[in-house]
């Protein structure tokens, strides 16, 4: 006769193992901004086309959680000048691919990170590039960040942004990079200047 307790214990353990399996795939910390590469070993940097400009450095004074650094991005998006008199462009990117091997994100549902502004009301979009967009040196953009924040906009307090991957129509089996994009239509009149802090960039 089967021992019912053993059987139940076995089932619990079975479920626990599946749960642990699930957890191991549920979340990937892409960058905690404590090193100068991301945690996948990928390069991180700003991109800019004059007259717009951006600067990204690690901030030890502002961080989400008890310790470590956050990423500080300063941006100065212009509305005029540069190619097609569009003011140029600027932003920040973090590379997910390794060499020519693209990153398989098909088991994840969202990009998440913590964000705050130096003044509040800063704005940007999140860009994502698969093989195609990576090869043309561009990305597909999300809506403005406020749509993915609990308060509806960047404030001086840390908030968790959650951007579902399904807002990007991309091949998630082959991702190249994630970017923070200070786009023309993020700012009244096309120009905006400010400082944001980002921490704990994850795929969930």
């Amino acid at each position: 006769m089967v021992n019912v307790k053993t059987c139940i214990a076995g089932i619990f353990l079975f479920v626990f193992v599946l749960f642990v399996c699930g957890i191991s795939y549920a979340e990937l910390l892409v960058d905690d901004f404590n090193k100068n590469t991301n945690l996948l070993g990928g390069r991180t940097s700003v991109y800019q086309q004059a007259p717009s400009r951006a600067l990204a450095i690690q901030s030890p004074t502002e961080h989400y959680g008890d310790s470590g650094n956050a990423l500080m991005i300063k941006y100065d998006k212009k509305a005029e000048g540069g190619p097609y008199n569009q003011g140029g462009w600027c932003g920040y990117y973090t590379i997910l691919k390794k060499g020519e091997t693209y990153f398989d994100a098909s088991s994840y549902k969202a990009i998440t990170f913590w964000v705050k502004g130096a003044e509040g009301a800063e704005n940007f979009k999140v860009g994502l590039a698969d093989r195609h967009w990576d090869q043309v040196g561009d990305s597909v953009k999300s809506e403005e960040i406020g749509k993915y924040l609990p308060s509806g906009g960047v404030t001086k307090e840390w908030q968790k942004a959650t951007i579902p991957l399904d807002v990007f129509f991309l091949d998630f089996k082959e991702l190249g990079s994630i970017s923070v994009c200070f786009e023309l239509d993020c700012f009244p009149g096309g120009a905006g200047k400010g400082t944001i802090y980002i921490d704990d960039l994850k795929l969930e």
Partner: protein, 412 residues
């Protein structure tokens, strides 16, 4: 019966979990296998198995690679590679062994020698290779490389530079850990790694031991933080390898009738063991010079936005030699040219002499370069003349964060 089924299901789940999540640190024998369908020649299948040690040499150079019972890293965990088993026993011998490599490298008649460890592994999930190393006398030197299953067939490993790149003070008589980011192996298909290669390119002989070879899913090397701590990026000390300390290509360029030859020479040195010797003969037509790359060919360009100047030491064989200094970003690299910061006399009022002098050039003097995507540093011989110069310790000085923020506020 049901009990057995439940027990079995638990065991199966644990095994699945173990396979799904690659251990954060893996020994050679724990690495994932080559992907199914990887093409191997019959001799590769017969000859090659994981953990096998081997050597190659063209006499008069010599090589030896064996497992050693007497010298090993104490406190480490043993790993039983197939050849390390005692053939007289059916079970692995429970003793720690290291890998001992003995070499004698001669320069005569293009003689060569090297050693390898066969991995036959998929390393895509690994980010760092570590191993412990100690030398018999200290100062032993080799280049580290890897073969994938394609390059192995043409005997053409990808080398990432000298061991000094990872141990700036070199191999000593004490155990030291070498940490290598696997991204430094630019070129091999990391899903199909056939072997890890140690090639001896500098004349000399030596004996050293390697132990505790491990592969890690974590990135354990943070070069920018090291640079930040020192305040500069040392691109080349010209001591050990013709690839620079970023692992990138260096070379001379020429268009006849002008010519330039380059070599690492012990004739003169500002620090370390050697310097870069450039022998040039610039005629009225053609061009010649030397370049060192900041990026891998077809790889990511190098971000110098946080750097303020480039510096190097120079001396001439006779004095009064002249050249101009150039740098190329992505765009200049594509058209095969560079922006020049002017002749060396602009930065050395007395010109090049027979003594070592430091040349320090603000990056802004190179004009409108895109510092986010930098490609190369160039020494260009532009005046009709003939001579020899020596260059050492090519560095890029980093801005402090205060400098960076001040520049930003000033709109720079």
């Amino acid at each position: 019966m049901l009990k057995k089924v439940v027990f079995l299901s638990i065991v199966i789940n644990i095994v699945i979990l173990a396979q799904l999540v690659l251990a954060e640190t893996a020994k050679i024998m724990d690495l994932p296998p080559l992907p199914e369908g990887t093409v191997l020649f019959e001799e590769e299948k017969m000859f090659g198995y994981r953990g096998r040690l081997g050597g190659f040499a063209l006499p008069p150079s010599k090589i030896g690679i064996i497992f050693d019972l007497k010298v090993f890293y104490e406190g480490g965990e043993p790993e039983f590679l197939p050849e390390s088993l005692d053939e007289s026993q059916s079970k692995p011998e429970l003793k720690i062994k290291s890998i001992k490599i003995m070499y004698k490298k001669e320069t005569k008649d293009l003689s060569f020698c090297g050693a390898y460890i066969i991995l036959l592994a998929d390393l895509r999930k690994c980010q760092t290779l570590t191993f412990m190393i100690k030398g018999k006398d200290g100062g032993e030197v080799f280049e580290i490389g890897a073969n994938d299953t394609i390059s192995n067939k043409r005997e053409d490993a990808v080398y990432l530079g000298s061991v000094y790149r990872y141990l700036p003070n070199g191999i000593t008589k004490d155990w030291q850990m070498v940490k290598i980011p696997l991204s430094d192996f630019y070129g091999p298909d990391m899903s199909k790694i056939y072997s890890l290669v140690f090639e001896f390119t500098e004349a000399g002989k030596g004996t050293f031991w390697i132990d505790q070879i491990r592969f890690h899913t974590e990135a354990m090397v943070d070069r920018e933080s090291e640079i930040k701590g020192k305040g500069y990026l040392l691109l080349d000390d010209f001591d050990h390898s013709l690839v620079n300390l970023l692992g990138n290509k260096t070379n001379a360029y020429k268009r006849l009738p002008s010519e330039c030859a380059y070599e690492l020479s012990a004739e003169e040195k500002y620090s370390g063991q050697k310097s870069l010797k450039l022998t040039f003969d610039k005629k009225g037509s053609g061009w010649c010079g030397y370049y060192t790359l900041l990026n891998q060919i077809d790889g990511d360009y190098y971000d110098l936005t946080l750097y303020k100047s480039v510096s190097f030491m120079v001396k001439g064989k006779e004095g009064s030699e002249t050249f101009e200094i150039g740098m190329a970003d992505k765009n200049w690299s594509i058209i095969g040219d560079s922006l020049k910061a002017g002749p060396v006399e602009k930065y050395l009022p007395g010109g090049v002499t027979k003594e070592w002098q430091e040349v320090n050039i603000p990056l802004k003097n190179f004009g409108a370069l895109d510092l986010i995507e930098m490609s190369s540093f160039v020494i260009n011989f532009y005046k009709s003349s003939k001579g020899v110069i020596y260059i050492d310790d090519l560095k890029f000085y980093r801005k402090t964060e205060e400098d960076v923020l001040k520049e930003w506020d000033q709109g720079g």
